[in-house]
Subunit: 173 residues, 2 copies
Amino acid sequence: MPSRKHGAVELLGLEARATEEDHKSIRLWLRLLSATNLVKNEVQSRLRRTFGTTLARFDLLAQLERHPEGLAMGPLSKRMMVTAGNVTRLVDQLEAEGLVTRVPDPRDRRTVRVRLTAEGRRRFAAMAAVHEGWIVELFRGLSREDREQLYGLLAALKQSVARALAREGGRAG
Amino acid sequence: MPSRKHGAVELLGLEARATEEDHKSIRLWLRLLSATNLVKNEVQSRLRRTFGTTLARFDLLAQLERHPEGLAMGPLSKRMMVTAGNVTRLVDQLEAEGLVTRVPDPRDRRTVRVRLTAEGRRRFAAMAAVHEGWIVELFRGLSREDREQLYGLLAALKQSVARALAREGGRAG
DNA sequence: GGTCAAATTTTGACTTGTCAACTATCTACC
DNA sequence: GGTAGATAGTTGACAAGTCAAAATTTGACC
């Protein structure tokens, strides 16, 4: 039966191609992770050497700087993409250093708003300027078009993940 | 002096445009970080729920799987992009679980080669198949062209960072 | 052949992160 | 207005990461 044999060969071809595509997704993910780690490790090490601080603290200050009215722990942890328990302790430290304050919310006594102090704003501004220079330098090898394409593709990736999680969530909970 | 005034306006325009581009680099970096964290947090949580393991251990096993002859601590830590001190303790745990072994190198008694045990190979294979499915699903919303473009742009980014570090290293060390 | 610097791994002290359990408060409903 | 369940934050136990200092071995040079 030549037609059956032909069909089997085609099926095998399809399967091989699918597997090939799957491996490509893994390689893409590994490359995404390693590119990010490359930048992150470098920024981390420079923040430490130059300002004696960490990326987590810098990130926390950056979030607060964009919200002068302050942010509650919950939203703050969402924006930082870490758990609330982690943020609690970061805020403890930054509060002890005098860079942020906890302001009780009169409307809801469960929540606290975290705000930059004047000193925190001053210190962050100094670091942010230098930090921006580092990033510009590290990304300088990409053309403006490359940067814009990458920016767009990362948005598409975030959407892709969000949709996958929605499918998952719709099924399970 | 209209020409001088005109020049000043042009200069201002250039500076504003430069600052604009700088901010775009920062936004690109933040988006890269958040896209990566999105995937990483999800994979991390699934590895935990499904297999009771962590991304660090999974990654370590994955590196060893690609090197059946074993890897010394140094190269292993470079590939995982973490410090050797960290890898020492991860290997301690995986060795205690019977998934890897430390093999002394007869050529150089300072180094140890870390290898997968049969059990380690078996366990990793089971996890890797499921893991690949997760990644494929999370990246499914990107077209094949998008994935290939992203793959290329991430390579360009890694090169850009490497060149920036080389410039830096050439100057400082 | 001895010494001194470089390389490899480990260890200790610390920060960042997770999860699960706990406390306190709020909201909705009876 | 009292109770039940959801929501906000903190805490404890632990995993994963950092750096710097120690221990051991190697290699090169005099």
